[in-house]
Structures are given as C-alpha cells and as structure tokens.
C-alpha cells in the first residue's frame, strides 16, 4: 500500500481543527518514534512472549497529522502485513467546540462496520498504556492501490474502474445501514442545522475572505433537503481513501471524519469535482452516477435523487474551501509550517469555482 498523505492528511487536520478540544490532554509527550524501540514494543504488544520479529517498520505519512506506519510481523512461519495508526501527541492542538472521533472510537467503528460486511481493514490490537506506544491501534494491511492518479490512469486497473462506482455505491449503502446502536458512543452527531452553524463559525474564525464560500453556505442553509434521514456517514469517502486492486474495491480507509448525519452527503462527496482528480467521470473520476446509484440501491433499496447529490456536492466544495482556509491558518500560525500546508491554501479557488458552477441556475 503506497499512499502519500497530502490532501489526505488534510482530512485529519480539519477534523483536528474541528476541535480536538474534547480530547484528553493526558498524553503530554509525543510517543516513542525511534523505529527500533517501536518495533520491540509492537512485537511485545502483538505476540505474548515476543516470539517472532517486527520487520520493515516505516512511516507512511508525513507532517503533524495522524501517524500511519507499515510493518511486517513475522511469527512462526507466517509473515503478516500490518498497519499502525496512532495519535502523534498533543502538541499544537487547536481547541474549539467541536468533537471528533477519538482513536479508540475509530477502531471500534472499524470493527462495527466490518461486522456488517463493509470492506474495511481488520483491527488486530488496540494500544494500551502498557504498550508504551501512545494512543492508537494495529490493523491488517490490505493489498491494493490508493493513489488516485494511478488508479485513474494505470492500465492494470481498467477492469476495476468499470466496477468501482457500483462497488462504492454498494459499500456506502452498507455503511449507511450499520445499526446505530452498534456504533461507538463517541461518534459525533452532525445531523441537522448544527452542520451549518459549525461551517459558519469555521469561516468566521479562519479569516473569512471568500464571498463565494459565504454565498455557498447561505445557499446550503436556505435549501436543505426536505427529507433527511440519519445514519452513519463515512465523511471522507472518496478516491484516495479507497484501496483498490485489479478486482475493484478492497477496503474503505480513513474513517476519522465519520459521524452521524445525512447519508446522501457521502454520495455527493464521492462525486464532488475536487475528488475527480481532473478526470471527466463524475464518480471519483472513474465512474457514472447510474452505476453508483444502482450499487447503492442493491444494498439499501433506495435511490437518492440527483438534486440531493448535487446539493451535497456543493457542501463538499464548501468543505474543501474551508479545509484550504484551515490549512493556510496552520501554516501561518506555525502549527504546521510545511510547504504542503502553504500550497493547499491556494486551492481555495478550486472550491470557489465549483460552488459557483453548482449554484448556477439555483441562486434565484
């Protein structure tokens, strides 16, 4: 699994800006990051008596966001490919009034979704204080490719691309059907007007200099779909967060923005222009609406209306524009003074043009 977490890490950062305030600040120091020390502790955590070995431990993600490490566990005659996801520490966290999915809840959510057939990695171990590895969990490392450009252009994914929109629709349907009473209690509830109140406060606290984002938010507020159901929403279901092999969808990754909300939001997000990566096909750059909706209908018996999908595409554009503002703020404040953060701040104009195009004909 190769995956550079450029705009991907952004999702984590936005969720942190959305307010790690409720998270405990007990973890004062960043957890051990010396790979040799980590490897020993991982082995002790995963194998009683530490028989076997942890090999090829390497960090996949850069920056100050959620850490993702890959490694192989050799135990007996088996070599098991695994992933460690963990919280980096508390340095530089924002505090706001929003809550996010904690890392332990994320692990619980993966297990709950997996239990109903959603294709997800298998959680192997939730880190404990005794593991001395910080807060996080270990999960299976699934085969496949997540890099959008490769998925969209590589000939070996041609057959997968043909099936992927249907498979995504089906997987989204499965996600939206996960029984709410099996979900972790810490799952944030973003249903109803709170979503828009929060969007406004994010604009206000991130130097809202974009009339187009404000216009988009006002329009979204004034035009909320009449029938809204409430379900588990992945929140970041898009090309880039999907592991795909030659046969199509293998696993849905990056659950840190999961919440309770309007399920159609996930369909609009997946088909938002910014996540088509320059390709023409509306669903993730690889597929068509009809296939997405057919897959969704096969799983749920329901077929959301196109105007609702377009509505949530507009929300996705506002969300992306807000992410750009948040990234810019992180760069300017020095919290994450990386080149990537500075560069992402200039992608605001993508969100603006998408919003204006989507709202065209809907404004008056």
């Amino acid at each position: 699994m190769r995956k550079f977490r450029s705009s991907i890490g952004v999702a984590r950062a936005v969720s942190r800006a959305l307010g790690a305030g409720l998270m405990s600040a007990t973890n004062e120091l960043p957890p051990a990051s010396d790979p040799a020390v980590m490897a020993d502790r991982l082995l002790a955590a995963l194998v009683p008596g530490s028989s076997g070995a942890v090999r090829a431990l390497r960090r996949l993600s850069g920056g100050a966001n959620m850490e993702t490490w890959a490694f192989d566990l050799e135990h007996g005659s088996a070599t098991v490919p695994l992933i460690l996801r963990r919280q980096p520490g508390v340095i530089g966290r924002n505090t706001t009034d929003w809550n996010e999915l904690g890392i332990a809840d994320e692990a619980a959510l993966l297990s709950a979704a997996g239990a109903t057939g959603v294709p997800v990695p298998t959680v192997r171990h939730l880190l404990t204080a005794g593991d001395e590895l910080g807060e996080g969990y270990v999960m299976s490392r699934e085969r496949g490719e997540a890099l959008p450009q490769r998925l969209l252009s590589d000939a070996r994914f041609a057959a997968a691309r043909d099936k992927l929109a249907w498979q995504c629709g089906h997987a989204l349907g499965q996600i939206h059907k996960v029984p709410v009473d099996t979900l972790p209690a810490g799952l944030p509830d973003h249903s109803g007007p709170v979503l828009f109140e929060h969007a406004q406060s994010l604009l206000d606290t991130h130097d809202n200099g974009s009339p187009v984002l404000q216009l988009g938010l006002d329009w979204l507020r004034d035009n909320r779909p009449g029938s809204q159901s409430k379900a588990l929403v992945h929140g970041d279901f898009r090309n880039g967060n999907l592991l795909v092999d030659e046969g199509g969808l293998v696993a849905v990754l990056d659950w840190e923005l999961a919440h309770l909300g309007d399920p159609v939001r996930d369909l609009g997000y997946l088909s938002a222009n910014v996540w088509r990566f320059g390709a023409d096909a509306p669903v993730g750059g690889f597929g068509q609406y009809d296939d997405l909706l057919a897959g969704y209908e096969a799983a749920t018996g329901q077929r959301p209306a196109m105007d609702e999908i377009i509505y949530w595409q507009a929300y996705a554009a506002l969300f992306w524009g807000t992410v750009c503002l948040i990234m810019l703020e992180k760069y300017r404040s020095g919290e994450d003074a990386s080149l990537e953060r500075a560069a992402v701040g200039r992608r605001l104009s993508e969100a603006e043009i998408d919003l204006l195009l989507l709202l065209e004909g809907n404004l008056r």
Binding site: D207, D218, A343, I353
Partner: protein, 129 residues
C-alpha cells in the same frame, strides 16, 4: 529594474528543479518537490495576471461605492453577504465568477472547473466588460 525579470528567474529556478533535482529524489521528497515547482508556477502566473485581479477589484469597488483602502474587497463582500446587507444581483455574481476564474487561472489553470466555467461564462479577456 533591469536585467533578468522576476518571471524569468522563477521560470529558470523551476526548470532547474524539475530537470536537475527531481530525478535525484524519490518518494515523499519527490512529491514535495513537485509541490514546490507548482508553487513557483503560481507565483509566475500571478506576476502576469495579478494586475487584472487588482483592476477587477477596483472596478467593482467603484460600482459598489466601497472605499476599501487596504482591506480586501472580497472580504468586505463576504461580510456583507453574511449580514445579508448586500444584494446578490447579476453584476455582483458576474464579478464573483470572473474573479474566481482569474484566481484559478493563477492557482491551477488545469483544474477542470476552470475549463467548464470558461465554456459557460466566457473567457478571461472579456471579464472586465
């Protein structure tokens, strides 16, 4: 100023990084170098198109009779939209469209939304009309 122009310097640095340095790197560093050369491209395009943004803002400020001084006109308009104290008429909408097009022509001219918008709203040369 005389001698090599700013845009030429940027173009030369960008070409050097792409042709001489990029091949030496792999993985995350190669990715970051591409981000860096893209960023230089943004500055190059802003040197060429920035005056058009300033002109567009001045024209709209005059129409709206706003003396924005050093403050950004879009920020003032954003605040007024939030307060619902400005009407979103055809002229304001046209300004927002053209400004977003110009910004995108600087930031990421290959973005598909720019091509779509050019087809629907006309090209950049006619935007000050």
């Amino acid at each position: 100023m005389s001698g090599t122009e700013s845009g030429e310097l940027l173009a030369a640095v960008r070409a050097f990084l792409k042709s001489e340095v990029l091949g030496e790197l792999d993985g995350f560093k190669a990715y970051q170098l591409r981000v860096a050369t893209n960023a230089l491209g943004i500055v190059e395009r802003e040197l060429a198109l920035g005056d058009a943004v300033v002109a567009l803002d001045s024209e709209m400020a005059a129409i709206l009779q706003i003396d924005n001084g050093a403050e950004s006109l879009p920020r003032i308009i954003a605040q007024r939209l939030k307060a619902r104290s400005i009407e979103l008429d055809e002229r304001l909408l046209s300004y927002l469209r053209h400004r977003a097009q110009l910004a995108l022509a600087i930031d990421n001219p290959r973005y598909s939304g720019l091509q779509q918008s050019l087809q629907r709203w006309g090209d950049l040369a006619s935007m000050a009309d």
